[in-house]
Structure formats: structure tokens, C-alpha cells
């Protein structure tokens, strides 16, 4: 159905070895099982992991837009009927929102530290396969990330300060997440 709103099949972030950092799939027909998802990711990474100059590929009937930064690869998977530029707008929004939150240090370590925020961002740009928002300023604002809790790593610093006074065990937990 060309007028279907459900045009996003998935949003995936992989690391430099093609391992999953985040993978959210919306199309349960094409990517019903984790096995299918992983197989697709493997194939996708083999086509796109090394070649960062091209930004779009059609794979198994899925239009894949991608963008990389340091050791991360961001993907938006969409229906091949969807306007490629709309999918690109979504990818840019994903990347820009995360980049804002990570203060332009878009790499695996910082992303893992801000994993909860990253999940909220994805939830805020796409709802069950329908594009919800493509303006990264609005997305960041809606995730209610102002001031101190702009990112996980910042939180970590304040926590570390607290743990100095408080229990030593907390410190280990936060150092784990740095």
C-alpha cells in the first residue's frame, strides 16, 4: 500500500566490528526473529562497514541509509517504496540528536555511557515504524535533557563526586559505565 505510514523497518547502530550497539526493528514480517535481524546486519555491515563514502544501499529490497562516525555506524532501514530523502531526513535527525547529546563526541564509548538517552531518542523519532519527528532540536528537547542531565557521562561526574562522600561501591558502578 503506497499510502501506508509504516515506512521505517528498523533503526540500527553497529560498532566497528559490526556488533550491535542498538537495534530496534519495526517491521515484524521482514525482521521477525533475532536470527533474521542478525543475518541482515551481518550482510549490511559487509556491504557498508568499510565503504563510508557511499551513504545508501538497496539490500534485499530494503533501502538502507547509513552514516558513520569514528567507530560507530548508524543505519535507517526503510521500505524500498519510501522516498529516500525522507529516510535520509530521519537518519540525519538520529545522528544529530545523538551528536548533540554526546556533545559532538560521537563514538562507541560515549554512546554506551549515554545508552538510556540514545534509546529515548530512537523512541522519539520513530513510533512503531511511523516517522514521528525529524527535527533534532525538538527531539533533544523532548527527551527533557537540559542542564545537568544532558548526558550520562556528565551524570557520572556528579555521581563520582557524591560517592567520594558516600559509599565506595557506587564508584565502581559508574566507572564501569564510563
Amino acid at each position: 500500500d503506497p499510502t501506508s505510514l509504516y515506512s521505517v523497518k528498523g533503526i540500527v547502530i553497529l560498532d566497528q566490528d559490526g556488533n550491535r550497539i542498538i537495534a530496534k526493528y519495526f517491521d515484524k514480517d521482514a525482521f521477525g526473529t533475532v536470527k533474521e535481524q542478525k543475518a541482515f546486519e551481518k550482510n549490511l555491515f559487509s556491504k557498508t562497514g568499510r565503504n563510508s563514502t557511499s551513504e545508501i544501499v538497496l539490500l534485499d529490497g530494503v533501502t538502507c541509509l547509513y552514516r558513520s562516525s569514528v567507530d560507530l555506524h548508524f543505519y535507517v532501514l526503510g521500505s524500498s517504496r519510501e522516498n529516500e530523502l525522507i529516510l535520509e531526513a530521519l537518519l540525519n535527525c538520529l545522528y544529530d540528536s545523538i551528536s548533540t547529546v554526546l556533545r559532538k563526541n560521537v563514538e562507541k564509548k560515549t554512546l554506551i555511557d549515554a545508552m538510556d538517552t540514545a534509546m529515548l531518542i530512537i523512541d522519539e523519532i520513530c513510533d512503531e515504524g511511523i516517522i514521528l519527528e525529524t527535527d533534532s532540536t525538538a527531539v533533544v528537547q523532548r527527551c527533557n535533557l537540559k542542564g545537568d542531565d544532558i548526558s550520562f557521562s556528565d551524570q557520572t561526574f556528579s555521581q563520582v563526586g557524591q560517592t567520594f562522600i558516600g559509599a565506595a561501591k557506587e564508584q565502581f558502578k559508574w566507572s564501569l559505565l564510563k
Binding site: N19, V34, E55, V57, L58, A138, R142, C143, F172, L176
Partner: protein
């Protein structure tokens, strides 16, 4: 003490992290995370800690780790405790948790009131996500209680809230469409809101609400087309609706097209591209309408943005089939893209050029391809080979250029898939183009002399068995085939033996020498090879009909059906007094042409498409047998037709009829759907009337209740008339009683009913319903084998067709036969053509037909001479009667 223990376990964890590439989320353990979830119950809530635990939980679900229902429910109850925290991030994660856990936990509806409170509360940041979580867990009945709040949210000034309500409503259309429809006024108001996404979501929902009402949709598009839509997303969607309206109705308002055309001048590339791709895919566009769209795409071909180049070249590739002339103007730009760094773009450009290239430019293009073919991956090479295959189909005369090119590719390095694609292409050339047969076979013979893939060697040997006898000098190929018997693996040797036998069966003059070679094979080291040789040696001297059915023909039964029938035969002791009847096994319909799935394939074939015709019949048989007493004594199902609509799709009631044909009965399945939400239909039956009085229903199974939007089927059993007729036209009327019901609940308003009826379109039972198309691998010998029987021969003048190709398609459809040996391909410019067709008639009778179609150049009238042979002469007569 506590802290030391904790730190040691943390150290262990850290060690584990290093193994998983520094990602602590990569190797989470379900049990320990679920244990950590207990922290949700602590007071006061440690927000940071809970955020991490929730994130871990989401990761587990994402990784597909199975969490038991009890554990998930326990975790969910813990999550409900987190509402007391005022931490904003945690609250946002809680909404996400409700959504994530909603499918794996019980009792999620207990958070309804908390979510309702948040959705109507003061905190803007909570309202939007609360609406989305609430709508996900709600059902139609509960939705009514929050209806008032939803209406308010849709028109809320905060665009996040409005979008959340609109998108949730789009999801809800599927489970509670009736409730959502009542919000049309609010949605309409939201469509003129400021927010870009709000406009888009409101427009989409408005369309979904009205999509059953064409006039309303038309009005909607025209209204917004005039202005007021600033959001590029909304405009793209509007273009899509407008395009759909034009596609559905060629009398559509011309201002719809003008609107799409005007979008070509929009400032957003997204909208411009959407408009251009809509225009080029519309049917019946004139060259002047097409030109501006094509020039926009042409411009995009040189954009610095890869996504835009990709979009443009992919659209041009799609159009190139329908409008090759229009795309030719972009050839210069496309040629520049051949060297694009993005290989997807490069490959699309090449294939587009191959599709649009003029016959004269073929040589140049091939030269260009050979300059880079060695540098690209196998996957892209396959795409190129596919394009070459399409090119050969268009310009058969160019085989002199292509064959050496393909042979060269075959000799170079490459994987199995790639080689197979080339071999398939060469085989297609040999089969489709008689002029290229000799050259093609020569290339393939050379290939199997040194071929590392046995699957490809057997494929070529199989082809040699079929095609070599058609050449002037079949004995030239025997050496190539026999060399395989000496040098190859078992699989290939066995295939070579079969190929020898096939050549022997069709060329009597070569039979003695072939029998000599087969005798040599009796000493082979492998059973399979010896058995085949022994079998063929004893069969080759028998009568032509036996040779034909045992050597040249392949098994026609559907393998799954054959297995089932054989198992039933073995189990059923009484049946052993009779011989196993192969004719009672449903035949397998002609395999659908292989749909190539490449990385550039459009949409991956859906599960539905994957099923073959035979699979569909088997599925229908399975379904019918489940209905008690319906198919008793009818024997196996022979064939099921696709569903035929007997009403317009927009009518109050829609009916589709499927004809299930058995040996001497037809079961008509009328699938009925009631699209009126204020009616319940009771005792729905079909009245059939045959004007000739030949067809009479013997039994009928009506639908007792037909509620709104729940399709059900009526079954009517029709015996084939005693006169032996297999055709008929039946007038059909749907009769039923109507009960008025409350649209929101579906409950009847009273016990009153009234009779009503509804006239359906006429239902036609045709000859082709009794015939299963089944292509023969070797038509000639099969035709000769039926020589003893009568040949029914008739001549017709075809008035309603304009070309030979059309005539052949029509005759095959009327007879229900499958064209053999690709004889349905008509070489360009020929004024006469013979097509060979075959199939199986109900009851397992083989039917063959030769249709000689000729066009009279003086007045373009088309004549048809039809010869039909069958093992049963009445069957041949019945088939001839299909053409009137």
C-alpha cells in the same frame, strides 16, 4: 565487607566487558538483570541506578533473550513503583518500559490511570510519551473512556502532544477504527496546525479515516492542494494520495495532476523528487507531461548527495521499462554515473543504460562494461549479467556480440552464483533464439569440458539432451556428453547417461551407437549410473509412447501431493485391490518463472508470492478438507481458481468467488464481507440460476451470521452437467436477512429482521477451469506419441485481437494450457507463428495443442488454426469448443 565483595564482582564484570569489546550491554545475563530489577521496589528510588537497569532490560528484549511471563510481570510491577520518582529521564524510560513489556507481561492495563493522569497533567514532557504508551496498551472499550482526552490532545498547542495523539490514532485505526473515525473534526483542525510533523500526521490520519469514500478523499486532496500545507512531509503524502486517485480512475480531476506537476517547482528536494517519481510512474502520461519530471531526475543525477543520485537513478531505472524513449535523454548523465563511488548507483546506471540503449549502441555499451567488469564484486556482476539477459531478449540479433562476451565472462574467475547466472543466461539464449542455438551450445559444451561445479555441468547436460536433437548435426554433441561419462563425478556421469538416452530417443539413426555407449556405462563403479544405463537400454527399444513418457517426460505430479497419495494408498489396505492411479494425484502446475532476487530487487517477495500455484491448490485442499462433510466422496482437488470479484470493491457487501474443481464436481466458494457497521446479516445464501438449465446446485452451506468486517464463506456444490458440458454462465443473487445493530458495540438493536437480496455479477465456468497448464519439456515426441488418436482441427478468425502475441496469450488463457519450449515468444516482424501448448484435463487426461497464428498484412486480421490432441478424444473436442 560488603563493599569488598561488590568490588570483586565488579572486577569480574569489567573483565567480561573487555572480552565483549568494551560494551557492557553486549553480554547481559537475563537472570542477573531480572534480579537487579528488585531495586525498583526500594524507597527512595535511586533514579540513576534504575535508569541503567531499565536500559539493560530493553537490551535483553532487543537481543531476543526470552524472559518468562512471570518474570516479566514481576519486573513490570516493579516498574509501576517508579512513578513516585520525579526524575525526568527515569519517567521517560518508564513509559518506554510499559511499551516494551506490554507484549511479554500480564496485567499491563493496571497503569492506565497513571498514564491517563500524566497525559492530562501539567508536565508537557510527560504528556506525549504517556499518550503513546497508553494507546498501545488500550483496547476499543477502554478507548471510549479516554476519548475526550484524546480529542483534546489531537488539537493541543504542543506539537509533540498533538503528533503523539495523531500517530497513536493511526495505530488505533487497526483495532478501534470506529472510535477514531469520530475524531475527524479534531484531526481536520490539527491539519492546519503550525507544526510540520503535526500537519503530516493529521493529513495521513484524515486520509485513513476517509479512505473508503473516494469523493471525500478527492475533496480532501483538492482542498489542501490549493495551499495551507507547508510541511514537506505532508506534501509528499498529499502527492501520494493524488497519485493513487489518478491511478484508480483515469477520468480523475485534471487539477490533481496539475497539483503534482506544480510540486516539481517546490523548494524542498524531497517534495520535488516525490512529485517526479509520482509522475513517471503514472499510467497514460503524455511525453509532454513526462518531460519536466524526467529533467528533474536528470538534474538530480549530478547532485553531490548520494541519496539523491541513488533516488534519481533508481527511478529512471524503473521508468526505463515503460518509457525507454524518455529516459534516453538522460543517457549522458547516466554514463557519468557508471564510475560512481557508490556501487549501487553505478550498477543501477549500467542496467538502466542497458535497458534503454538503442540497438546501435549495444557494442559500445558492452565495451564499456568489459572495461570495469573485472573490478566489481560478483554480486554486481550478476546484476550486469541480468541486464545483458534482458538486452538479448530485446535485440535477439545482437547475440553475435553478446555470446562471445558472456563466454569470456564464463572463462574468467568467479563464484558459483555468478557462473550459474551466466549459464542460465546462455541456456535462455539457446532456448529462445533458434539462430543463436548452435553458437550457444558450442560455448556451453566448451564450458563443461572444464567445469568445477557439478550442478552447472548437469544443467548443461540436461539442456544438451533436449536441444541437441533439434540441431542439424546431433551426433556432434555425443562426444561432449560421453566425455563427461568418463571424466566426472557420479552426479555428472548420471546426468550424462540421461542426456545420451534422450538424444537416442529422439534420433533413431543414432540409437545403435548410443546403445553401445550406454552398454559401456553398465560397468560404471556407481549404482546410480549403472541403474540409469540399464533402465534406458531396456526402454529405448519400446514403442514411441513409452519412450516418450519414460525417457523424455518428467514427472507431472506435484511431489507433495504424490507423497500424500502414496502414503494414503499404503495405509488403506482395501485399496490394494486396485492399482495405484497416478492420474488421481493432482498435477503440478507449470512452475512460475523464476523471479530473480538480487540486491537490487524491488521488494523482497512476500510469503504469499513465494507459494507456487500448486502450493495454493494444496492449501485450498487442506482448507476445504477441514470443513466437515464438504469434500466427502469428491476425490482429490484438481484445481482452484484465483478469487474472482463478483461485486465492486466499494460496495456495501463484497463477494469473491473461488472455483474449486474436483473430478466431477465444482465447489463454489463465495467469500462475503459485510462493510456496513450498522448491520448484521443472518442466514446468507446464494441463489444460482443457469439459463441453459444445465448446472444445478446439489448442496449449499450458507453463512449463519455475517457481522461487520468479518469475512465468511458460502459453499455451493455443483455437479458437472450430465450432458458433458464444462462451460456455463450462472446468474447469482445473494439472499439474506438483515438485523440492525449498534455500530459501536455490534449488538442487535432489536430482534426484528427483514429480508433483502443483492444481485451479484454473473459467474462464468469455463473450459480452462477444467484444465491444469503443464508445460512439456519436449513437445514434439509427445505430440507424435498421441498420433493414434484423432486430431481435432479447427480454424477461426480472431476479431478482438490486434497482434500475434496478444492472440497467443488469449488462446492459451481460453484453453487453460501452458506454452511449451518457449514457443510463446514471437520473433519480431514475423507474420505467422506456431505455438505449442500442453496441459492436463480434469481426470488426468493429457491434452496437447498446436496453434498456428497468422496475420494478414492487407487488413491486419488474425487467423488461427488450432489442432488439439488428447488421450481422450472428447477432451480434445471440449477444448476446441472453448474458442468461439
Amino acid at each position: 565487607v560488603n563493599s569488598t565483595m561488590d568490588s570483586s564482582s565488579e572486577m569480574k564484570r569489567e573483565k567480561k566487558d573487555e572480552e565483549s569489546g568494551g560494551n557492557p550491554y553486549a553480554k547481559l545475563d537475563v537472570t542477573s538483570v531480572l534480579q537487579e530489577c528488585r531495586a525498583f521496589n526500594e524507597t527512595p528510588v535511586n533514579a540513576r541506578k534504575c535508569c541503567i537497569i531499565l536500559t539493560k532490560l530493553f537490551h535483553l528484549v532487543q537481543q531476543g533473550d526470552s524472559i518468562g511471563r512471570t518474570e516479566a510481570t514481576a519486573a513490570f510491577f516493579g516498574v509501576t513503583k517508579l512513578w513516585q520518582s520525579k526524575d525526568a529521564t527515569l519517567r521517560r524510560l518508564v513509559y518506554l518500559a510499559v511499551k516494551v513489556l506490554s507484549t511479554i507481561s500480564d496485567d499491563v492495563i493496571i497503569v492506565t490511570s497513571s498514564l491517563t493522569k500524566d497525559m492530562t497533567g501539567k508536565e508537557d514532557a510527560y504528556r506525549a510519551p504517556a499518550i503513546r504508551a497508553l494507546c498501545l496498551i488500550t483496547d476499543a472499550a477502554m478507548l471510549q473512556t479516554i476519548e475526550r482526552y484524546m480529542k483534546q490532545a489531537i488539537v493541543d498547542r504542543n506539537s509533540a502532544v498533538s503528533s503523539a495523539a495523531l500517530v497513536s490514532s493511526i495505530h488505533l485505526m487497526r483495532k478501534a477504527g470506529e472510535v477514531v473515525r469520530r475524531w475527524a473534526n479534531e484531526v481536520q483542525e490539527a491539519a492546519s496546525a503550525d507544526g510540520h510533523m503535526v500537519q503530516f500526521h493529521a493529513l495521513a490520519l484524515l486520509y485513513q479515516i476517509r479512505s473508503n469514500d473516494r469523493l471525500a478523499v478527492n475533496k480532501l486532496v483538492l482542498k489542501f492542494a490549493k495551499g495551507g500545507m507547508r510541511s514537506p512531509f505532508a506534501l509528499c503524502y498529499l502527492i501520494r494520495i493524488a497519485k493513487q486517485l489518478i491511478e484508480e480512475d483515469d477520468q480523475a480531476d485534471s487539477s490533481l495532476f496539475q497539483f503534482i506537476d506544480s510540486c516539481l517547482r517546490h523548494k524542498s528536494e524531497m517534495v520535488v523528487y516525490e512529485a517526479a517519481s509520482a509522475i513517471v510512474s503514472l499510467p497514460n502520461t503524455s511525453p509532454s507531461e513526462l518531460a519536466p519530471a524526467i529533467s528533474v531526475l536528470q538534474l538530480f543525477c549530478s547532485s553531490p548527495k548520494p541519496s539523491l543520485r541513488f533516488a534519481a537513478v533508481r527511478t529512471l531505472n524503473k521508468v526505463s521499462v515503460k518509457h525507454p524513449q524518455a529516459v534516453t535523454s538522460c543517457n549522458v548523465d547516466l554514463e557519468k554515473l557508471i564510475t560512481d563511488a557508490n556501487r549501487s548507483i553505478a550498477t543501477l546506471a549500467i542496467t538502466t543504460l542497458l535497458k534503454t540503449g538503442a540497438e546501435s549502441s549495444v557494442e559500445r555499451l558492452m565495451k564499456q562494461i568489459s572495461s570495469f567488469v573485472s573490478e566489481i564484486s560478483d554480486e554486481f556482476k550478476i546484476v550486469v549479467v541480468e541486464a545483458i539477459r534482458a538486452l538479448i531478449a530485446r535485440y535477439p540479433r545482437k547475440h553475435t556480440v553478446m555470446l562471445p562476451f558472456l563466454a569470456n565472462m564464463l572463462r574468467n574467475d568467479g563464484g558459483f552464483e555468478y557462473k550459474r547466472e551466466i549459464v542460465d543466461t546462455l541456456i535462455a539464449i539457446v532456448e529462445e533464439n533458434p539462430d543463436a542455438r548452435l553458437a550457444g551450445l558450442a560455448q556451453l559444451c566448451e564450458f563443461i569440458e572444464d567445469c568445477e561445479h557439478s550442478a552447472l555441468a548437469t544443467k548443461v547436460l540436461h539442456l544438451l539432451g533436449r536441444e541437441a536433437p533439434k540441431t542439424a548435426n546431433p551426433h556432434a554433441y555425443i562426444r561432449f556428453v560421453y566425455n563427461r561419462v568418463i571424466l566426472e563425478t557420479t552426479q555428472v556421469r548420471a546426468a550424462a547417461v540421461s542426456a545420451l538416452a534422450k538424444i537416442g530417443a529422439q534420433c533413431p539413426q543414432l540409437r545403435p551407437s548410443i546403445e553401445g555407449l550406454l552398454t559401456n556405462c553398465l560397468l560404471d563403479s556407481e549404482d546410480e549410473v549403472r541403474d540409469r544405463a540399464t533402465f534406458y537400454l531396456s526402454v529405448l527399444d519400446m514403442s514411441p509412447s513409452i519412450v516418450n513418457s519414460l525417457v523424455l517426460d518428467t514427472l507431472q505430479s506435484a511431489p507433495a501431493a504424490l507423497e500424500k497419495a502414496a502414503a494414503e494408498y499404503v495405509e488403506n489396505g482395501e485399496a490394494h485391490t486396485n492399482k495405484f492411479d497416478l492420474k488421481s494425484v493432482p498435477v503440478c502446475a507449470a512452475p512460475a518463472a523464476k523471479k530473480a532476487k538480487t540486491m537490487l530487487a524491488e521488494e523482497a517477495p512476500s510469503a504469499k508470492e513465494k507459494k507456487s500455484a500448486a502450493g495454493a491448490t494444496a492449501a485450498a485442499a487442506e482448507r476445504l478438507s477441514l470443513i466437515e462433510g464438504l469434500t466427502n466422496g469428491l476425490g482429490p482437488l484438481f484445481k482452484s481458481s484465483p478469487p474472482i470479484p463478483l461485486t465492486d470493491t466499494v460496495n456495501e457487501y463484497t463477494v469473491h468467488c473461488t472455483k474449486h474443481v474436483f473430478a466431477s464436481h465444482v465447489i463454489l466458494e463465495f467469500e462475503c464481507k459485510n462493510t456496513l457497521n450498522d448491520q448484521l446479516l443472518v442466514n446468507v445464501n446464494v441463489q444460482l440460476e443457469d439459463l441453459e438449465g444445465e448446472w444445478n446446485a446439489s448442496r449449499q452451506r450458507p453463512i449463519s451470521r455475517l457481522p461487520y468486517n468479518e469475512p465468511a464463506s458460502i459453499f455451493v456444490l455443483l455437479p458437472f452437467p450430465e450432458s458433458g458440458s464444462v462451460q456455463g454462465v450462472l446468474a447469482a443473487t445473494l439472499n439474506f436477512k438483515v438485523k440492525d445493530v449498534d455500530p459501536s458495540t455490534g449488538e442487535p438493536e432489536s430482534d426484528d429482521t427483514y429480508d433483502d437480496s443483492y444481485v451479484l455479477e454473473e459467474l462464468e465456468i469455463s473450459v480452462s477451469d477444467s484444465v491444469q497448464p503443464l508445460a512439456k519439456a519436449s513437445f514434439g515426441p509427445a505430440w507424435n506419441a498421441l498420433e493414434e488418436g484423432d486430431t481435432v482441427e479447427e480454424t477461426f478468425a480472431l476479431a478482438s485481437v490486434n497482434s500475434i502475441h496478444e492472440a497467443i496469450k488469449k488462446v492459451a488463457a481460453l484453453l487453460g494450457l501452458a506454452p511449451c519450449e518457449r514457443s510463446d515468444i514471437v520473433p519480431e516482424g514475423k507474420s505467422r507463428h506456431v505455438v505449442m501448448m500442453s496441459g492436463v484435463f480434469r481426470g488426468g487426461y493429457e491434452v496437447l495443442a498446436k496453434a498456428n497464428v497468422a496475420i494478414d498484412p492487407s487488413d491486419n486480421s488474425i487467423g488461427l488454426n488450432l489442432m488439439i490432441r488428447s488421450s481422450e478424444s472428447t477432451v480434445a473436442e471440449i477444448l476446441a469448443s472453448a474458442i468461439v
